[in-house]
């Protein structure tokens, strides 16, 4: 398999990973608190927008249009970027992207890079590739830095260190930054990170960033953030490399008007991000004098070929679906086995890998629809989950026990005669498990249900039998 999404190919299945995480009470406390705070903030700033639904529809239309003409817009972007003094590289998959980036850094003889705002680099495992080439990457987004220092994995698309609290972060900083003392107030922690990062911002000569948007018309890149570290990272080094998934293209500069209203409100519940950086190619005498864009496919064009699920590529990575999702809110991001977690991860990760891995992810949803409701670009995630489930079943990849259960149910429901037999069989079958009108323990795949819930015993008479009896009585 050529397409790799982080370590998702070897990650444990969702139910197993979730089980472990559910026993982590600290994690669940942090999750509940953080997702509640962001959810409430988001609700407040969305409610003040009278044209919110219009904005969602427009964003959906723009994205839909881009995906249908992606070839044209990508080439337009390349031309505009090159005209402005940038270089554009095309990467088919993770390996190719890593080779290009490592090569660019080695050409300059640099041994360190500062990185910011690039989930895509996690998708291609860039840090691992850099390290094996003897290049040291420093994450400079505060949360990413915490994750990196802890040898940890991001647990949220927008707030990657959501699972860590202040005390844990203090301990980590003390240990990894070689400090003698440190308080645990947010100010203390920020100050420590600032000292640590500033020194690197000034020293390191290559910066690597991601992109929120790549504008075809002008060849510009847009990155939004809260800390200002991305601004440092993209302006101070000699060379800047920006890694962009090909779906990040928007046609025109004025389209930012739509997305820059939707994204901050959906992501952090802010009207506007504190820092909005937009740059175009190279500006002589100011900022990096070498600018490279790496356009990454890594399974995206494959998703594009499926009309029913291509909207997956509309995602602007706001994370609103994570905060709204009842499943994510219990497990956090680590259960999803890749940088892309929550409902969007459940549809994106398996598709990027051509449905060859991560097949438990499309089932990691109760289909409650909360994700679709909050999605700023109106991705019908439940619909795509269903589509992927059907693909798993059609490929013959569903568990045997489930296939047998579903087939048996289909036969039982094929007509009233077989249904009555099935009803009788169910009544008989429950006898060994019945205790005083309730079923408290079931075997096999139903054991999980009765672990925390009772099942009421099956009533003696079904509705249809009652109805028939009534009809007979009436006829007399």
């Amino acid at each position: 398999m050529s397409v790799r999404v982080g370590l998702a190919g070897t990650a444990p299945g969702f139910p197993e990973a979730a089980k472990t995480l559910l026993s982590n009470t600290q994690l669940r406390h942090n999750l509940r608190h953080a997702t509640n705070v962001i959810r409430k903030k988001r609700e407040r700033v969305v409610a003040e927008m009278p044209d919110w639904q219009d904005l969602r529809n427009t964003a959906h239309e723009i994205k839909n249009h881009v995906l249908r003409h992606l070839d044209t817009y990508l080439e337009q972007f390349e031309m505009a970027c090159v005209r402005a003094g940038g270089h554009v590289h095309w990467a088919r998959d993770a390996d190719e992207a890593n080779r290009i980036i490592v090569g660019l850094i080695q050409e300059r003889g640099h041994k360190e890079v500062i990185k910011v705002k690039t989930m895509t680099s996690d998708e291609i495992q860039l840090n691992t590739a850099l390290q094996s080439a003897g290049i040291t990457p420093y994450e400079t987004d505060l949360a990413d830095l915490i994750v990196q220092l802890g040898g940890d994995q991001p647990s949220h698309i927008v707030v990657p260190a959501l699972h860590r609290n202040r005390m844990e972060i203090r301990k980590l900083f003390l240990e990894k930054m070689g400090l003698e003392s440190l308080g645990d107030r947010p100010e203390d922690l920020t100050e420590a990170a600032r000292q640590y990062l500033r020194e690197r911002f000034l020293r390191v000569k290559t910066g690597i960033s991601g992109a929120n948007f790549a504008i075809a018309e002008t060849g510009s890149i847009c990155v939004v953030e809260s800390e200002g570290n991305a601004r440092m990272c993209t302006t101070l080094p000699e060379m800047l490399i920006t890694l962009v998934g090909i779906e990040k293209i928007i046609p025109k500069f004025r389209d930012l008007e739509v997305f820059l209203q939707l994204l901050p409100r959906s992501a952090t519940g802010e009207r506007m991000n504190p820092y909005n950086s937009i740059w175009t190619g190279v500006t002589p005498g100011s900022g990096p004098q070498a600018f490279h864009v790496v356009l990454l496919d890594n399974g995206r064009t494959k998703i594009l070929t499926d009309r029913e699920s291509r909207a997956t590529l509309d995602c602007i990575r706001c994370g609103a679906c994570l905060n709204a999702c009842p499943v994510y809110r219990q497990t956090g991001g680590h259960a999803y086995g890749s940088i892309y977690s929550g409902p969007i991860g459940a549809i994106l990760t398996p598709q990027l890998q051509s449905m060859e891995h991560s097949q438990t992810l499309p089932y990691a949803s109760s289909l409650c629809g909360a994700c679709y409701e909050v999605c700023p670009v109106k991705i019908d995630i439940p619909e795509i989950l269903l589509r992927l489930r059907n693909r798993i079943v059609s490929n013959g990849d569903a568990p045997l026990s489930e296939r047998i259960a579903m087939k048996s149910a289909a036969v039982a429901l094929s007509g009233p005669r077989l249904l009555r037999i099935a009803h009788a069989a169910a009544r008989l079958g429950q006898i060994p498990f019945k205790k005083g009108g309730a079923i408290r323990s079931l075997p096999g795949m139903l054991a999980g249900w009765t672990e925390v819930r009772d099942l009421s015993a099956i009533p003696k008479q079904s509705f249809r039998d009652w109805w028939k009896e009534r009809e007979r009585a009436k006829a007399k």
Binding site: F14, P15, A18, K19, L22, R28, P326, V327, Q330, T331, P362, Y363, A364, S365, S366, L367, C368, G369, A370, Y372, E373, L386, N390, R391, V393, S394, A398, E402, M406, K407, A409, A410, L413, S414, G415, P416, L419, H423, A426, A438, R440, M445, L446, G448, W449, E451, V452, R453, D454, L455, S456, I458, P459, Q461, S462, F463, R464, W466, W467, K468
Partner: protein, 242 residues
């Protein structure tokens, strides 16, 4: 009016009292109720688990059984959501002549139970008497697919003696999700625990909903934890009388 009841497969076997309550209410309102015995299931469980071809077979049966019905009443919002959200698409993929047209003309005649009362029959007060404190669990399909809004609550507010209370985070899923509760039993249980907390905090005696599927899930935990709260489908509350 002649109303055809699609009781749903799980109500048929597990919650016959709900079906009986629907029949009692509709007859009390002066309508004729018909239960086509050839009915089985809407196909939701198969469809949602990825077994589309089995779902299609079940949909075909549903459509052929109810094609001529004047009005279809379904006491389950998730089954109605299955029909409204997926039947047309499923029919379009099936390439069976006439199926798509049949679905198109049948769908507008299908009503979820509370919808039938408030929208089609235009009644809210059906003379019920239920002197208890009740909390309404809003199921996800009722909320986000059918957009029932305050229809179930409006019906409950007209019940004599009934006090309706609101739970915290009432719009959050209960974690049932059909086969989700089996395939991801641990996560489902964790979501349920949060839901139960909100419901119990209201101090209500009864938890009601327009879906017995959510109630089976919620009720299972209430029973296991030996709480005093019990679950009852909306129809069974509305069928009570003084």
């Amino acid at each position: 009016m002649r109303i055809s009841l699609f009781v749903t497969c799980y109500n048929d076997l597990l919650f016959p009292e709900t079906g009986k309550a629907v029949v009692a209410i509709l007859e009390r309102l002066g309508h004729e109720v018909d239960f086509p015995i050839a009915q089985t299931c809407c196909g939701q469980m198969h469809y949602n688990t990825g077994y589309q071809s089995d779902a299609l077979t079940l949909m075909r049966r549903f459509v052929s059984v109810f094609r001529e019905a004047e009005v279809v009443c379904v006491p389950s919002s998730s089954c109605v959501a299955m029909m409204r959200d997926h039947y047309l698409k499923l029919a379009a993929q099936a390439s069976t002549p006439g199926l798509e047209a049949d679905v198109k003309t049948l769908l507008p005649r299908i009503y979820e139970f509370s919808e039938l009362l408030t929208d089609k029959l235009g009644v809210e007060d059906i003379g019920a008497f239920f002197p208890h404190e009740v909390v309404l669990h809003v199921s996800c399909h009722a909320l986000r697919s059918l957009r029932l809004g305050d229809k179930p609550a409006r019906l409950l507010r007209k019940v004599r003696g009934l006090t309706l209370v609101e739970p915290a985070d009432g719009e959050d899923c209960c974690g049932f999700g059909g086969t989700f509760s089996v395939k991801n039993a641990d996560v489902s249980a964790a979501i349920l625990a949060a839901k139960i907390q909100g419901l119990l905090a209201t101090g209500a005696e009864v938890c009601t909903a327009v879906d017995n599927s959510c109630l089976m899930h919620i009720g299972g935990a209430l029973q296991r934890q030996r709480t005093a709260m019990r679950t009852l489908h909306l129809a069974e509350i509305l069928a009570t009388s003084q």
